[in-house]
Symmetry: C2
Subunit: 159 residues, 2 copies
Amino acid sequence: MACSLARTWGIIGEPWTPLILRDLALGLRRFDDIRADLGIARNILADRLQTLAQAGVVERREYESANRPRLEYVLSDSGKELVPIIMAITQWGDRWTTDGAEPPVVFHHQRCGGQSTARIVCDRCGEDLRAEDLQLLAGPGSKTGPGTFLADLLPRAVE
Amino acid sequence: MACSLARTWGIIGEPWTPLILRDLALGLRRFDDIRADLGIARNILADRLQTLAQAGVVERREYESANRPRLEYVLSDSGKELVPIIMAITQWGDRWTTDGAEPPVVFHHQRCGGQSTARIVCDRCGEDLRAEDLQLLAGPGSKTGPGTFLADLLPRAVE
C-alpha cells in the first residue's frame, strides 16, 4: 500500500508494541526485564521484537553474561524518533481517557529542566497544527489502490 | 492499566483505525464512502467505528437520505486532536519506511500556506523533543501492576 501511515502501523500498530518501545526508551534492554515489566508471554514479546528488529526500529546487540553470549535490545535512530510520538499519544490519553485522574507518568525535559508536554507544530511557521488547518494533498509518490483510493480525489501538491 | 499509552492504544491501536481516522480527517462521513476507499469488510469497519464512537473520538450524527434516517460519522474534539499525531506518524513513515521513494501524501498548512512537516516540541522551551533529552517520571496517578511494574522504579515527579 502506497501509504506511510499504513506501513508505519504495520510496524508499531500491534498490541504491546508501544509499551515495548516505552520500556526500551526507559532504558530496559534485556528480554527478561521487559517481559517482567509487561507481564506478557515470551512468544508474544519475541514476535514483537522480531518485527521491530526487521523494520530497523530496534537493534539487537550481543553481550556476554556468565560467559554466555546473550542479546540485548536498544532503540535505533528511527526508534528514537518514535519516542516523542509515543509521548504525544500518551499525553492525548492523559487528556481524554483518564476521566480526570492524574497522569500516571510525566515527562521531564532535561534540556530545559521542566515537566514537558509535547506540542505538534508546523516546521514552517511554528504554529500548533490543528485538524481544521490541515489539507491533505496527493504527493509525488501517491498511487491509487486499496486503502488509497482517495489519492485520485485529492488535489495534487504543486511541485 | 494505569497507563495512558495502553488506554490510547486500546482505542487507536487496532488495524485500519488510523486509516479510518485519516479518511474522517479528509472529510469522508458516510460508511459506504469509507468502506469503498479502504476496501475493507463491512463488519470490520462497523466494529472499528463502534470502538471510536464509544471512546468519544467519533460522533455519530443522523441525516436524512431519500426520506430515510442514516448515520454519518465526524471527528469529535478529541478525534481532531489525533490528526496532528497521525500526521507525525505518517511523516515518520515517509522518512523511514519508503526506501527513498517520494511521499504519497503531503500536508498543506492553510494558516501559513505551505507544505508542512510536523515537529514535536516542548511546550515550555519550544525545542524539538528528542529521546535522549527525555526522562520518564512516575506521575501523581501512577500505580504498579501488569504493564506498569516499572512505575515503582521510576523517580517520582516533584509536585
